[in-house]
């Protein structure tokens, strides 16, 4: 019996990876086409965003703040938040937009979300590696002191972002009002995402509350991984893990509910 279900699990895994692969290629072609640099466009947007904001900060604040490079600091904050914001905006109304693909039974609605998020994730990672490599050459970006910690932070941040997408996607199908509140909410949460500061710069009482935010925990991990002993970081990796699990369970249940009532033309 257990062997039987293991074989089924393997089949299911095979089908799902195939479907997600096909969906990603399809998405890349529809979004970026085959002309000029093609799918490399996925890293252009995060690059531009982080690059321009970093330049603005560099001009207005000078080369260093709290002893670390302003450009590197801004980039380390902006690339993850672009991933989060793009992930969210791409997951709205994704089920109805791709409805015609549900004619093929092996495609599940979660595959739409996964394929889109993986594309955003790859785009951000590529942009990050690209810009960091260039800046390291010019000595404006630190060589990561603990690359493992940095990557764990980025991964936790991404997983939490994805778990939020799992909730937003079905909610946006249930009610159109949700869609109208999302841009404002993602904007408001920027200050609470750890983008502009380290927790060691804020008042200890405030810090305790801030540590409830999964984004801040992830961000502190990434920055500690980058700068190491140059900075003090406060984080608890269990925070993003637990929050992600809660959001994922809630989101998957909502997805299941929405799939049952989804009307497809």
């Amino acid at each position: 019996m257990s062997k039987f279900s293991l074989a089924r699990l393997r089949d299911g895994w095979g089908t799902q990876t195939r479907v997600i692969h096909a969906l990603m290629i399809r998405e890349l072609i529809t979004r970026f086409g085959r002309e000029n640099i093609g799918f490399l466009w996925i890293m252009v947007e995060p690059l531009l965003f982080a690059g321009i904001v970093a330049t603005l900060w560099r001009v207005s604040k000078g080369p260093e703040e709290h002893g670390i490079s302003v450009i590197a600091f801004v980039i380390s904050g902006y690339i993850p938040i672009t991933l989060f914001r793009h992930g969210i905006s791409r997951s709205q109304a994704v089920f109805t937009a791709n409805g015609s693909l549900l004619y093929h039974r092996q495609i599940k609605i979660i595959d739409f979300l996964l394929s889109r998020f993986i594309i955003e994730f790859l785009g951000s990672s590529m942009a990050y590696i690209f810009i960091a490599s260039i800046l390291i050459v010019f000595d404006t970006f630190p060589i990561p002191s603990d690359i493992g910690l940095f990557m764990s932070g980025f991964l936790l941040y991404s997983i939490f972002s994805f778990s939020v997408c799992l909730v937003i996607a079905p909610l946006s199908e249930i009610s159109e009002t949700v869609e109208k509140f999302v841009p404002v909410t993602t904007y408001i949460m920027i200050p609470f995402s750890g983008l502009f500061y380290m927790l060691s710069w804020v008042h200890p009482t405030l810090r305790e509350y801030m540590l409830f935010s999964p984004f801040i925990n992830g961000m502190e991990m990434m920055r500690k991984g980058l700068w190491g002993d140059q900075i003090t970081a406060y984080y608890n990796p269990w925070n993003p893990i637990i929050f992600s699990m809660i959001f994922a369970v809630f989101g998957l249940a909502l997805c299941r509910h929405v799939r049952r009532t989804l009307t497809i033309e």
Binding site: I25, H104, T263
Partner: protein, 215 residues
């Protein structure tokens, strides 16, 4: 075998709810060619979508013990902004077939030529039907779900469909929703008449067509 068990489907709009299908039961045996008859809005397409797993029943279930095509119709199954070839590649990937085989088959079957390099949204409904049929025939299913679409083609297409589907794949099953009583009498061996949410099974197609004409 495909078994529909106590299928119910309601659509909700705001506070209103409309029951489209109410307790539908039937079985499709291998080799069955079932006609779905019913007036516009009776629920034929809904039933096809439920059988094909495109939409989920409100209650009841569909048990599929043979491979079943996706519902072939005007909408669905394609991405309009992609070309015919891109869609073929996509289908080949998700159904785990060799793209070169599928490509060769649809080029021969659809006769769309260079149009296959154009986005599907620029196709006429006849051309879409050709592509949809071409792709699903290239993959080979035990049972085909066909929603109206067979009628939009020109004579050449009808002849091809007839040859591929009814002669070469005689042992396959088929569920065909259509208003063309002539076609149904010619092709089907059983019929289901959908009316007021109820589905009535007929072993005699002529009787079903007679009842349908008198609705």
């Amino acid at each position: 075998m495909i078994i529909c068990k106590d299928l119910c489907k309601s659509y909700k709009h705001g506070l209103k709810s409309k029951r489209v299908l109410d307790n539908v039961n039937f079985t499709v045996e291998p080799g069955d060619r079932i006609a779905l008859l019913g007036r516009n809005g009776a629920g034929k397409s809904t039933l096809i979508k439920l059988i094909g797993g495109v939409e989920m029943p409100t209650s009841g279930k569909v048990i599929r013990n043979m491979t079943l095509s996706w519902p072939l119709g005007f909408a669905g199954g394609f991405q309009g902004s992609l070309t015919g070839y891109d869609n073929a590649r996509f289908i080949a990937r998700i159904y785990q077939r060799k793209y070169s085989d599928i490509r060769a088959f649809i080029e021969e079957f659809t006769e769309l030529g260079n149009q296959l390099k154009m986005p599907v949204k620029t196709y006429s409904s006849g051309m879409r039907a050709r592509l949809a049929f071409g792709l699903s025939l290239a993959i080979e299913f035990d049972c085909y779900l066909i929603d109206e679409v067979i009628m939009v083609g020109d004579q050449n297409f009808n002849r091809k469909c007839h040859h591929e589907l009814l002669e070469r794949r005689q042992s396959r099953s088929m569920i065909l929703a259509s208003h063309s009583t002539e076609l149904i009498q010619q092709v089907c061996n059983r019929a289901i008449l959908v009316h007021n949410g109820q589905a009535t099974e007929y072993d005699d197609v002529n009787q079903a067509v007679h009842d349908y004409s008198n609705l």
